[in-house]
């Protein structure tokens, strides 16, 4: 299996892993958002979904361990690749400007992938602090049904600011990440290149706005 170790530690192999773990995380986000959108369907539907999800604790443990593994692989590669890339540049330029044309915005998400990724990590810690580890004061929603707990948490000022920022990071990260993952996997063809580019931005927007809609819903 030396060939596999060699391949996965090469620059191309690492980009493969980055792309695959990124896409898998996106898959999780879609499912997670789809479940949470049941908040719009009312307390009965949402509570039934939440209870059903937690019925099989063992399955949930396996799934979250797998998810954590994917997440930490993505995070580890991000930090190690960024470090390697900084070293590869060495002394930077006194002046640097792009030669790319038709840029959608002056602030380019591809230059900020580590920053937006770490922003997402901060959001994730806040999210897990409330829903998994109960690091923050839980007295005001202890014993509440999942629907009421979510509705109560989403009106907390720290949650509102943290989550909104988190979803903005998510949009920025995925607006480059999605199309970049396809390119890293070698999926590039004039027939569907523009679909990948705009579809990626659309996907990022859908996930960002979809999640943000829950914050809006709770505070209306």
């Amino acid at each position: 299996m030396n060939w596999l170790r060699c391949a996965l530690s090469s620059s191309v192999g690492k980009k493969f892993l980055m792309a695959i773990t990124g896409l898998l995380l996106c898959g999780f986000l879609v499912v997670h958002l789809a479940g949470n959108l049941l908040l719009f369907a009312g307390d009965e539907a949402y509570n039934a979904y939440a209870h059903k999800l937690h019925e099989n604790e063992n399955l949930l443990h396996v799934a979250s361990t797998g998810l954590a593994l994917i997440f930490f692989t993505h995070l580890y590669l991000a930090v190690s690749l960024t470090t390697e890339n900084r070293i590869a540049r060495g002394r930077g330029y006194a002046e640097n400007q792009t030669k790319r044309e038709n840029l959608i915005s002056k602030v380019r998400p591809e230059s900020w992938m580590l920053a937006t990724g770490l922003g997402l990590l901060a959001y994730l810690l806040l999210h897990l602090a409330d829903f998994t580890f109960h690091w923050r004061d839980v007295s005001h929603y202890q014993g509440l049904e999942p629907f009421d707990k979510a509705a109560s948490l989403l009106t907390d000022p720290v949650t509102i600011i943290g989550y909104t920022a988190g979803f903005a990071f998510l949009f920025a990260h995925l607006s480059h990440g999605m199309s970049s993952a396809f390119q890293s996997l070698g999926l590039n063809h004039p027939k569907y290149n523009s679909l990948i580019k705009w579809g990626g931005i659309g996907f990022a927007l859908a996930l960002g706005l979809g999640n943000f809609s829950l914050v809006v819903w709770a505070n209306l």
């Binding site: 090469s10 192999g13 590869a88 792009t98 030669k99 230059s111």
Partner: protein, 256 residues
């Protein structure tokens, strides 16, 4: 024709040797003709420096017609200056305005150590090419012209990839100093043609391994390389490199 030339301030990176510290030095150059190429402008600067008894600015150049890939300057933060698909030698002073300050730096990459002033050592790119090895060819008489059929679209893509002049602008423009566009062009030009098929898997694996060993960064798909490339090499080649690499790892007998 034109009366008065431009007055320019040049901010040039000066470094006496690979181990020397290096710093920016300012030079005032007056009456620069807009018809000069960028390198001719540097020639004028050097003649003046020689007259003053100072060390001339070292910079790489050879054919001065955009095909050899020797010239290599970061001009105002852009590889080969502001024009698209243009090498430094083909850039003309009419792109600049009277009173401009022009910053001139060498390519910056760990794999491209500075030799002197604006000259960097790009033999790392040569080593990536040699890692690719030889191509099996028929010896003896020239084969019949049409005995090996190549589809026109494949031939065109291969020729587009082969347009790479190996100047290193892709590495210079990439925020990660990645040589992925260069390597992908060299892999593509062979992988697309039947003559390159026998060593196809071995070639991509070895070239990528060499590229990593030279200390180039990884690709983050920003497409800065494509915009900076004077030969117009497309990032489609990088996707092809990724596919070739995957195929070689998963399906070939290499590395068993």
């Amino acid at each position: 024709m034109s009366g008065q030339g431009m007055n320019l301030t040049l901010r040039v990176w000066r470094q006496a040797g690979s181990e020397a510290k290096g710093e920016f030095r300012f030079y005032q150059l007056n009456n620069v003709s807009e018809h000069m190429s960028f390198l001719e402008m540097l020639d004028v600067l050097n003649e003046r420096l020689i007259k003053l008894g100072e060390e001339p600015v070292a910079f790489d150049h050879d054919c001065r017609e955009g095909i050899c890939g020797m010239c290599s300057l970061m001009i105002n933060g852009q590889a080969h200056g502001p024009d698209n698909e243009t090498t430094t030698c083909q850039l003309h002073m009419r792109r600049f305005r009277d009173g401009d300050t022009i910053t001139i730096e060498p390519w910056r990459a760990k794999a491209f150590p500075v030799i002197r002033d604006l000259v960097v050592d790009r033999t790392s790119l040569d080593r990536v090419i040699s890692a690719g090895g030889f191509v099996s060819i028929n010896a003896g008489n020239a084969p019949d012209a049409n005995c090996l059929l190549v589809p026109k679209q494949d031939q065109e893509k291969a020729m587009d990839a082969a347009a790479c002049i190996g100047c290193g602008a892709c590495v210079a423009a990439c925020k990660n100093a990645s040589a992925m566009l260069f390597t992908s062009a060299k892999v593509s030009q062979m992988a697309l043609l039947p003559q390159g098929k026998p060593e196809r898997a071995q070639r991509v694996l070895k070239m990528v391994a060499q590229m990593d060993e030279e200390g180039f960064g990884s690709c983050t798909n920003t497409s800065e390389c494509e915009a900076a490339c004077p030969a117009g090499i497309s990032v489609d080649n990088i996707a092809r490199l990724n596919r070739e690499y995957l195929k070689a790892v998963v399906f070939s007998d290499e590395g068993v």
